[in-house]
Symmetry: D3
Subunit: 270 residues, 6 copies
């Protein structure tokens, strides 16, 4: 595994732990962050040995969002001709979006473990993860509104499906801070723990559970839920029938059934 500037990546027992690693900068998302996250999730995607990902932040905070220097730099794309500047900005935004699309499209489940600040771009990031877990003192804020802009790398697109339309608008219009317990109540995170140590232990346990399942079944499940975010029920039913037409011919089904009969734990190939 190569060295990364903005991340620390480890692979143990089929679980990849991807840690944003700029604690002295509250894990602000700098230029290295945006490009390395694509490389890392490409590696996750094509490495059979990786079955599940835990995404965390080193230090006291998950992440304070986009590095302001980087945002200022985007402003520099604005040249003399408004049309040509618009085109340059549009492409820059699409490029940044691609970084989080890599997380969203990754075939392996991604669990976010969140403590401290989770602000602005960090919300865009966790909205692209499969599940979110937090400490009680985590603080979530759609901070883009205070930067004078509409969030454009995923929060406004993915979060409404997670927390519902009504609360979504309040958080997006006000940028107010939401703490762990409320985050759980509105469905933003699935569970909260008291301390960061407990959070990581809890999330690693969940990850281990998922890593023990049939990888074929996990991928099909993720693909289907992701598909349903944007498609009709009848299209989804047809798609899973086509998908399982191949996948039910895998040996994993036989292995699972045999294990079930003999009350043993099944072992699935990567």
């Amino acid at each position: 595994m190569p060295d990364y500037q903005a991340f620390r990546v480890e692979l143990t027992d089929k679980i990849a732990t991807v840690t944003i690693n700029r604690p002295e900068k509250r894990n602000a998302m700098n230029s290295a962050f945006w490009s390395e996250i694509i490389e890392i999730f490409d590696w996750v995607d094509r490495t059979d040995e990786v079955r599940v990902v835990v995404l965390a932040g080193a230090g006291e905070h998950f992440s304070s969002g986009i590095d302001l220097g980087l945002l200022a730099q985007a402003a520099n794309l604005v040249g003399k001709d408004v049309g040509r500047s618009a085109e340059a900005l549009r492409r820059k935004i699409l490029e940044l979006q691609a970084s989080f699309n890599a997380v969203d499209r990754c075939r392996k489940p991604v669990l976010a473990a969140i403590q401290g600040y989770c602000l602005g771009g960090a919300i865009d990031l966790i909205a692209a993860c499969d599940m979110r877990y937090a400490t009680r003192d985590a603080q979530f804020s759609i901070k883009e509104i205070d930067m004078g802009m509409a969030a454009d790398v995923g929060t406004l697109q993915r979060l409404p499906r997670i927390i519902g339309d009504g609360m979504m608008r309040e958080l997006a219009f006000t940028g107010r801070h939401v703490h762990g317990d409320e985050a759980q109540r509105i469905g933003l995170v699935n569970r909260v723990w008291d301390t960061q140590a407990q959070l990581l232990e809890g999330v690693m346990q969940l990850a281990a559970e998922i890593a023990a399942k049939s990888p074929i079944a996990i991928r099909g499940t993720k693909e289907m839920i992701r598909y349903m975010r944007d498609h009709r029920v009848d299209d989804g039913l047809e798609y899973i029938a086509t998908w399982n037409a191949a996948m039910l011919q895998s040996s994993d089904l036989r292995i699972a059934m045999a294990a079930h009969m003999s009350k043993q734990k099944p072992e699935f190939a990567d």
Copy 2:
């Protein structure tokens, strides 16, 4: 009403009670189950006298899901040629889906009353019902993941609209058991009761309430909510306008208004 092998069906006071009736097998879904459910819901759909359906399970458990013998049988569809096996499997899955589509498309509201186990295929089934009610000790699990497969008869397609995307993924990836109270908290069921007797009484009361409403109004309401699961708001507005263009010419509107004025209970034709 004909005799069924896997069900018991009763019609009282415009409420059809459809009970899965293989308690000695924890109401596992065998071959008879999958075909009879279509016949039953076709009968429900075309019988004007039936205004609402309660779907229950006889004995201690709602249902433990698909009969494993049946699942093994599906494996037998796998022949020498992968392509031809895929086609056979695809059609088998579409056939099984049709059984629960019959519940989903039924023009009368379907209320599920759930106690004990509600596992695997049983989740697919209740996701196709209109509303879900349970006892406190009910246990829900998307068990397909432990059979080495992605759920393919409706859970992954219909449940995200009911419980939200975040918790959906956790339950689908881990297959963990959810009990009554948590089920209510995440929106999987609308209400819980302590005992099965209380559950049935509560659900029958709700059913009776619904049975007393204008059947024309109930059908329009169900059609519209079902439509909105998959369509845009503007399309939905146009559709209800076209629908009500005919339905507001029904006498039910007049009957309801007259009853409202005279503070009496309205009586609607079937």
Copy 3:
């Protein structure tokens, strides 16, 4: 500002307060209501000075829904020929829907403050607002079902995205009354207060907060969340990229960043 028969409209500190003003009729929606609401929200939309709207009801109740006289009048559209009556009814419904579409499409956030009755058409109305807040003793009911009809001016179309599919069906089929606390629990309102005075104070505070943000950023945010109600994630990402291609060239981004650096409150042009 002109005088309205069914409303009272005020503009203070960039907040427009739009109050349904027929307290002696429990703010029932009469003919003036349906046409004036369009005029008012057109004015809101084109008046740069208005940055946010609070929608309230004068007196003890938010609104008891459509005026029954008006409903009876719609029945008069039914003539001899069923087809021609259907066309007339269809156009009448589309016309009524247009009144609430004006609220939904308004570029400024609309906060509903609800006390007492919020019945029938009033639910259609608040479902077209951005956020909903209530007193503990507020009472919500999808009362159309008791008028012998399917709700056709927005409730069945917009509410499922707000409260989820399962509870939606129960409320629409039974028309049962939901009080403030349950309304918050199921996501129908974002917060509840004990008294009407507290409610109004709380909502005005929220409105003031929103009015202080960049209007360019607020409009983009509202447009995107509204867009996501009906579109795919990938379409949403492309749309915000195109939108922000122009909007990030606005001076609001610079003003916000400068204010952030100097820890001062930014001032944005209308």
Copy 4:
């Protein structure tokens, strides 16, 4: 094969010829027609030996459309209550549509061979076929407009994709007769012949060609084109990738490649 009242069905060399067989009534679509066509296409669908279907009309005309007696009968569904009549009519229309949906969804290609009249319901029927071929003197007319109604069993839904929006509207608004040559020019039929004998010979030749191809490949191709009528390009690309993931593991690919190398005609299993 059972005997049919409205059809004659033959199976020769993997080609099923389905002939509307009421020449004395200009093959008008009577009650038997609408139910038998479902049975026939169900048989086509599940009979591996059938690889392609030719749909023809006995005698001088393909079909003059729906039997007027049947249409009058539908009028009898209109009872006292407009709402309940509307529901009955709606279900009757959906039932009639199902007859032609069986043609549209059939997994094997369906070639229509058309001579003489092809009026009203007959256009709905051929719009549900894969390809259309005709004699020079064939006459096409969307005759429903002259019955005082909008066509409701498929013409208005499927034909615009075939002949384009502009000419579609002229034909639907005027009901004017289109002859073979113009039909070819506007894309309604693929080819015309001078005589009925030539037409049948030509169509049987095409059918024989198609019957010799890999049935796995033909089904995938039909499914994909049908899918693209209603879906986005990116969804279609994802769907074919999922489909071919299984189908490319079939032996047909190997058989075809081997035949190609050895310049021989491949033989595919049913």
Copy 5:
């Protein structure tokens, strides 16, 4: 009927003739044009007596497109702040689009009769009509490309459904002139005549034919074809079933059938 500055409107024998009437300016679309067209088509829509519309241009040319003065004026919307200018421009474009949406959404068929120039905005206009007819010497050009802009009032949105994707791109990228015969060949117009007199006579004849049909049937037909431009086949089938549930209860069906039996011309109420 009021006097219009940019149009001449006549109503004879249920046919409204709407003529762009600035021949000395080649019928360029000035400010009056854009607002009057909305009023006119609103009048068309709500006037039962109008059953069909012919849209023509006075003098030698149909229309040379948007008045350049008006385009220059739009440029004046560009102020200091790029974001606020973008918002103003966006709303201006949506406003101009609304003028042609009024033609597109009009419930009565609109037939365009085109001679001479049909350039730029004129193509946007005719793409919103139901059918297009021309003289041999008509000249069509998507001239926006030569104004340094992408066409934004309908050409790029509606024309691909009419002439197909391949030729669409050539015409939009090059702006080259297409004459009557080629226009017919590529499906842009349905028929061409040698002279303007013949064109008008031919189109009036078609209009008269359409005006004699059941207005209920015509409206349903138009609504359905318009719906199919943007919806799936299955949605379209469900929509027409719901629509006809009311409309088949109209007397027009009976009148048409009786006329058919007695071989007489039916007379339909407006």
Copy 6:
């Protein structure tokens, strides 16, 4: 510009000519072809100097489609476990599709110049181009059907929008050869010439015309037509309004109008 194994790329007068350059292999698409085409179109996309692309084939044929060796290699992805093989195949197909998506998504217009064979994968390729031009003796065939497979890199997805549903199915089911003149008649190509020299001259002339237009206007036009292939008319209208909100602030509009007034040729920046 780097050297390519499967292509020759030139840039003259703002026109990039991309020539498939394996004439001795009839320009069969080998492994280098599939990866280099992505690199080339990425370069096209980001190089401002390139305004339009001509895609051609060296020698007597445009291309005979996918290299059979490469197809055989894909077969090698099939391992022991059907499920895991399916996943590998699915990803391989998505990877191949990405090569032609790069052509489809390229912001500059792509004109295909076709002589001789254009078979199998070559049809998938030209369906991803903007426009197609050919010699009279060009031969088109959807040859995948004779390889025992459904075409999976774009033909079945993109071609129906270009040639219509009816002829599409005939060509896809039979794989029959279509020559230049018929190709033009059915809309597959826009124009045919007698010789390859004339073809190239004609296409280069068209390319030069397009290269002289405002690049801002050309990109907007392409984006919109591409968008309309998959979206609704109302969505398209909203999208162009948002797009042009920025682009009409470009100087190209002013330059074009000034040139128009002074009857001179405008000069646009890259």
